[in-house]
């Protein structure tokens, strides 16, 4: 179980995350739904423990252990991993080297091929470079494959569909299915209703805190009603602000 307790993160005197509390259980897929700028990516960086986001207040507790003092590598070794909204490119590394982490992961041909097929690629990609020669969508697929292959206990996927065409929703469903089957906690971060609907449970994020949680369909409706014409997009929520009402 992953617990997030009263996380606060301040930037330029703004509370980007503001007493955010949530829990996540193994083998379940959670959607964190919210408009642009509400703090979704920030939350994923806090959970992963990126150097630039370690100055948060509050606690992240994984399987009963407070992990706030752990670095990215240390959290990764506990089984936490992050799929970035925009995966970075690497010069001179092949997809195969990338997926095997430079040979550190011992993976059979079958495992590689099967994982590539889940993300809609084939083994011809293994010798391609993970640089500008891959399109944004291909790069994102390689990233999803790479995440599956590290066999995580907690998977945070920041906008898994960004850069991928709308026809590929099935591919994302396959990826979530695989991670769920392997017992991972899956946290998908998204502003898209279609993606949120793939989850078992959803949280609505606004102004750096969870406004509502429940069945995805319910939260999606809430999101439509509450967030579509919302005036405070990208605005900080001050104590006693409108959303607290």
């Amino acid at each position: 179980m992953l617990e997030v307790r009263e996380i606060k993160l301040v930037r330029d005197e703004r509370k980007i995350l503001n007493t955010l509390t949530a829990t996540f259980e193994s083998g379940r897929v959670y959607a964190i739904l919210g408009n642009n700028g509400v703090g979704k990516s920030t939350l994923s960086y806090v959970l992963m423990g990126l150097e630039s986001h370690r100055d948060y207040e509050g606690k992240v507790i994984f399987d009963g252990e407070e992990i706030d003092l752990l670095s990215v590598s240390e959290r990764a070794r506990k089984g936490i991993t992050l799929g970035w909204q925009e995966p970075v490119r690497f010069e001179g590394l092949t997809v195969k080297e990338y997926l095997t982490l430079g040979g550190k992961l011992r993976l059979s041909k079958e495992e590689l091929n099967e994982t590539l097929s889940i993300v809609g690629l084939n083994n011809e990609y293994l010798d391609r470079l993970v640089d500008e020669s891959l399109s944004g969508g291909e790069r994102k697929r390689v990233e999803l494959a790479s995440i599956i292959l590290v066999n995580p206990k907690v998977t945070i996927l920041d906008e898994p569909d960004s850069g991928i065409d709308i026809m590929s929703m099935e591919m994302i469903e396959r990826v979530l299915e695989r991670l769920r089957d392997k017992g991972s906690i899956v946290i998908i971060i998204t502003h898209r209703e279609e993606i949120a609907r793939m989850a078992d449970e959803a949280y609505l994020l606004c102004g750096g805190r969870i406004l509502a949680s429940g069945e995805p369909e319910e939260i999606v409706n809430f999101y439509r009603k509450l967030c579509d014409n919302c005036q405070h997009i990208n605005e900080p929520i001050t104590e006693g602000g409108r959303v607290d009402d």
């Binding site: 992963m48 990126l50 150097e51 630039s52 670095s71 990215v72 590598s73 959290r75 990764a76 070794r77 936490i80 991993t81 992050l82 970035w84 995966p87 970075v88 690497f90 010069e91 001179g92 590394l93 080297e97 982490l101 430079g102 550190k104 790479s146 995440i147 590290v150």
Partner: protein, 318 residues
């Protein structure tokens, strides 16, 4: 073919050659042009139709002439291996490459100085790439562990009309010692060139690179690129220059220096000179740590900082 008087020397060099990524059996093949130099001796050599190799011993080195007849396309890469097995001394290597018109050849050169403690190697390669010819020259160096090797490598090349030339220099697997690389290319009408150096520096290694593109012919184009990974107390000074002297010539110079630690001292100077208003030159330069997002991407999959750096740099220096 290996001169039988030098079997032992060949075996010793071959061992180092394999370490640097070469395939020794290529030196025994009759269909591959090869030249093996140890100290001031040519200890093995082979050639094929259309390629003429001459060599002369110097007091402390060798001078080599390699000529390729017009219209000759060489399928297998030409292998050059220069070794020096003793810890002390100097070695001078002078190379004259002449490619006729409409030729095509790839050169793979390995320089292995595995035990240099107080050793200096100077190499000057003068190359003439004929009209509409294509040449690739890839030079990989392996130096000794204790940094006692000094290398001065100078490449002067002229690429004639419509020709294309690639010159790659790698010193990434061992200590550098002291290294001075100078690459200069004279590009004629519609000729193109890509010159690039990649170096990994450790301890108190010292490096100077000077790459120059002379875009002298109309429609010529060139790229001069340097990638350095500087660690520990190493120093690097990189100068990339491009001269746009002709109409519709295009040049790009680029230097990326990745640093690790607070004790490195690196710098780069891009220089662009235009003498024709229709020439176009650009440059890019960066000095800094390994990209944080790349690092964190790999670390979020369980690699340590060390392993992540290693993987990223390995890719960049390829």
């Amino acid at each position: 073919m290996i001169n039988s008087n030098f079997e032992r020397e060949f075996t010793a060099i071959a061992k180092e050659y394999e370490k640097s990524g070469g395939n020794v059996s290529d030196f025994l093949r009759k269909d591959i042009v090869s030249i093996i130099v140890s100290g001031n001796k040519v200890i093995g050599r082979n050639t094929v139709d259309g390629v003429h190799v001459k060599a002369k011993e110097l007091d402390n080195g060798v001078e080599i002439w390699l000529e390729i007849d017009d219209g000759t396309v060489i399928e297998n890469p030409i292998h050059l291996c220069t070794g020096y097995l003793k810890p002390e001394g100097t070695q001078e290597v002078l190379i004259h490459n002449h490619l006729g018109d409409h030729t095509k050849a790839k050169f793979i050169s390995h320089c292995v100085f595995p035990s240099g403690v107080n050793f200096t190697h100077s190499m000057v390669a003068d190359t003439d790439v004929g009209k509409y010819s294509e040449m690739l020259y890839e030079d990989t160096h392996m130096h000794s562990k204790d940094g006692g090797v000094t290398v001065k490598a100078t490449y002067n090349t002229i690429v004639r009309e419509g020709g294309s030339f690639q010159n790659l220099f790698y010193l990434t697997k061992t200590r550098v010692g002291k290294l001075f690389v100078k690459m200069s290319v004279d590009l004629q009408k519609n000729a193109s060139a890509h010159i690039e150096s990649k170096v990994y520096e450790r301890e108190d290694d010292y490096l100077e690179i000077d790459e120059q593109l002379f875009l002298n012919g109309e429609g010529s184009s060139g790229i001069a690129k340097t990638t350095v990974f500087a660690t520990d107390r190493s120093k690097a000074k990189i100068i990339n220059k491009a001269y746009g002297n002709a109409a519709y010539s295009k040049g790009h110079i680029e230097c990326n220096e990745i640093i690790k630690g607070d004790s490195v001292e690196v710098g780069t100077v891009p220089e662009l000179y235009v003498r024709n208003e229709k020439a176009e030159l650009t440059h890019e330069a960066s000095i800094g740590r390994v990209n944080v997002k790349q690092m964190e991407t790999l670390m979020s999959k369980g690699l340590t900082e060390e392993e992540a750096t290693d993987m990223i740099v390995r890719g960049m220096l390829r």
